[in-house]
């Protein structure tokens, strides 16, 4: 087990290194930051002055080396666009992002698990189909359409909720719903499938034969076993959420989070921010995945044995 964990850790480090290097060179390949941040209308000489000022004149390898050394000191650089330390920007934005993430995860769990379970239990009747039908909408509607529709109905026409920004619980409702819809649909489906798999297993027949009431069968036995799959999927979804779907929601609701920061940095080639952002997100995702993986291994003895 320990050996496996160490191997995963090593793999994690190598992955991170590859990502850092990849992003560094890829962003520079796709254009010089100067052309996005005020480099318009400059003569070649002036542009060169600006390029030198931003430290982008050195060869890529030299820039890379400088970057690695700064990283080792914990210095993530200065945003080319905002001229402030990247760490400051990230600290400002991580709170709102985490809030959205937490809200989305809670909502997803709270809705998808019961819905999926019920859909599985009542799969033959119309109730089961209806639940899946509604859940399916979460897949079918692009999240920005849902977001704008929510704003137009709940905020514009009905005036119940504030349109944007962050400040009160009311500000949370629409962004979290718009963000979660897709993941609720996805997790409901998975839960239903996992429950279906489990519900048909032989050991449940035994439990029923023993005379256990159906709800007990479902919750104590079936759900518990399905839960492993469900939770691992949820873990992956968290990772996915942390990674990117938010940029759309953050832009529409003027919610200053990491997603929007990353996409703007990518669009404007703000290298230091982009590099830091990708590292941070990659780290978070890899950590979550590794944890889920290890937990899965710890929970399921077959996997644990296969690994040792």
């Amino acid at each position: 087990m320990l050996e496996y964990a160490l191997a995963r850790l090593l793999r994690m480090i190598v992955t991170m290194f590859v990502i850092v290097t990849g992003v560094f060179f890829a962003t520079r390949l796709s254009g010089n930051a100067v052309d996005f941040i005020g480099g318009e209308g400059l003569s070649a000489a002036d542009r060169a002055t600006l390029v030198a000022y931003y430290g982008l004149d050195a060869s890529w390898f030299e820039q890379y080396w400088r970057y690695l050394r700064a990283l080792a000191e914990g210095n993530f650089g200065i945003s080319l666009l905002e001229r402030r330390p990247v760490s400051t920007i990230v600290l400002e934005r991580i709170g709102p992002s985490l809030q959205l993430l937490a809200g989305a995860v809670l909502l997803t769990l709270a809705v998808a698990v019961p819905a999926g379970t019920l859909a599985a239990v009542y799969r033959k009747s119309w109730a089961g189909s209806m639940i899946m039908g509604v859940a399916f909408l979460g897949y079918a509607i692009p999240n920005f359409v849902l977001a704008v529709l929510l704003i137009l109905t709940l905020s514009f026409w009905l005036g119940w909720l504030p349109s944007s920004g962050n400040g009160s619980l009311a500000h949370f409702v629409m962004p979290v719903v718009a963000l979660s819809a897709f993941y609720i649909a996805s997790l409901t489906r998975f839960t239903r499938n996992a429950m279906l798999d489990v519900l048909s297993q032989d050991y449940l027949r035994t439990a029923r034969a023993k005379g256990l009431a159906e709800p007990r069968v479902i919750f104590k036995h079936a759900l518990r076993n399905a839960l492993i799959t469900v939770l691992s999927v949820l873990g992956l979804q968290i990772a996915g959420l942390a990674a990117a779907g938010n940029v759309v929601i953050e832009t529409i609701f003027a919610w200053r989070g990491i997603g929007e920061m990353l996409v703007t940095a990518a669009l404007r080639r703000d290298y230091p921010v982009l590099q830091f952002g990708v590292i941070a997100v990659a780290l978070a995702v890899i950590l979550i995945n590794t944890l889920v993986d290890l937990a899965y291994g710890a929970a399921d003895p077959r996997v644990r044995l296969a690994r040792s």
Binding site: T15, I19, S30, Y139, A140, I141, P142, A243, V263, L267
Partner: protein
């Protein structure tokens, strides 16, 4: 000698034989469907037909602008313009024609992208599962990287670097989700590897390749079908997100997702610009999900009964 567990390779069936078997197979599937599923199947066929016939049946050139007839509502509402059944968009282009061509483009792009993902991810996953060891580690590292980096960024930079061409878009969407296929395939291979019937086949001398094709692949169909159907929806959504961010296909060509993205500013004043393509996305996703679920349930049951 016990050789009955291995059936002899079937003789190459004639064309007529194959067609009959296909028709019988399809009739089987149809019989299994309830009425909802049958309607869904018909809807799916209609959508595909519309997409294929788009260039023939679209009343107007989807890119033809009529600047002085912008934002006209659909026929039946006040201010509508004759001939423009679903109204005009922000440059006076016919929405119906754009929807038909958009449907064609969206289906084409999503299908191609999903197939690329399936082939790429599936083969890598298969390879990882069968070869194991170093190869497995390498491929899993690639998977890690793929998961760790927000794909929206990768897509963004790629499109920025290579331009908004159709081929670039398809390639980008194709590699977006390969790791899902890879992991499922690899997981199944690892699971099946330990099963007795594989041991038996190996003991009887079957090559790794033959084992993969004849024994492992059929078991993969069910989980892969699920991933494939979910994938197609995901691709449609990813493509919409890219056009929301101003990337995706260059104007004036538009997929359904791009039409929705560009039209969202007009939701309060000219909602038909978004409503028509959004509805089509909904229908496409609905058909794919329903049929995909059905096929999955079916193949699973069949497997269990074997």
């Amino acid at each position: 000698m016990v050789h009955t567990t291995l059936s002899a390779p079937p003789a190459a069936p004639s064309l007529v034989h194959r067609a009959t078997r296909l028709r019988a197979g399809l009739a089987d599937v149809w019989a299994d469907m309830n009425w909802i599923l049958r309607c869904t199947a018909i809807l799916g066929i209609v959508l595909v037909a519309l997409a294929l016939a788009a260039p023939l049946i679209a009343p107007f050139d989807p890119n033809a602008q009529s600047l002085l007839s912008r934002l006209k509502p659909p026929m039946g509402l006040a201010g509508a313009k004759d001939g423009y059944l679903l109204g005009t968009d922000e440059l006076g282009r016919d929405i119906l024609s754009r929807c038909l061509h958009g449907l064609r483009l969206t289906l084409g792009v999503a299908l191609l992208g999903a197939v690329i993902g399936l082939l790429l991810g599936g083969s890598l996953g298969l390879l990882a599962g069968i070869a194991g060891g170093r190869v497995d580690d390498l491929i899993m590292s690639l998977v890690d990287i793929q998961i760790a980096v927000p794909f929206t960024l990768v897509a963004l930079l790629t499109v920025a670097l290579l331009g908004g061409d159709l081929s670039v878009l398809i390639a980008v969407l194709g590699i977006a989700y390969w790791e899902q296929y890879a992991r499922i395939t690899r997981g199944e291979v690892l699971r099946l590897r330990e099963m007795p019937f594989i041991e038996a086949a190996r003991a009887a001398g079957a090559s790794g390749w033959r084992i993969a094709v004849r024994h492992i692949l059929p078991n993969l169909i069910s989980p892969l079908v699920v991933v494939f159907t979910v994938n197609i929806s995901n691709i449609v959504l990813l493509e919409s997100t890219l056009s929301f961010l101003g990337l995706g296909l260059r104007p004036p060509t538009a997929t359904l997702g791009a039409m929705v993205g560009m039209g969202r500013d007009y939701l309060p004043s000219a909602p038909w610009i978004v409503a028509a393509p959004a509805l089509l996305i909904l229908l496409v996703t609905f058909v794919i999900q329903m049929l995909g679920d059905f096929l999955r349930d079916r193949t699973d049951v069949r497997l269990r009964e074997r």
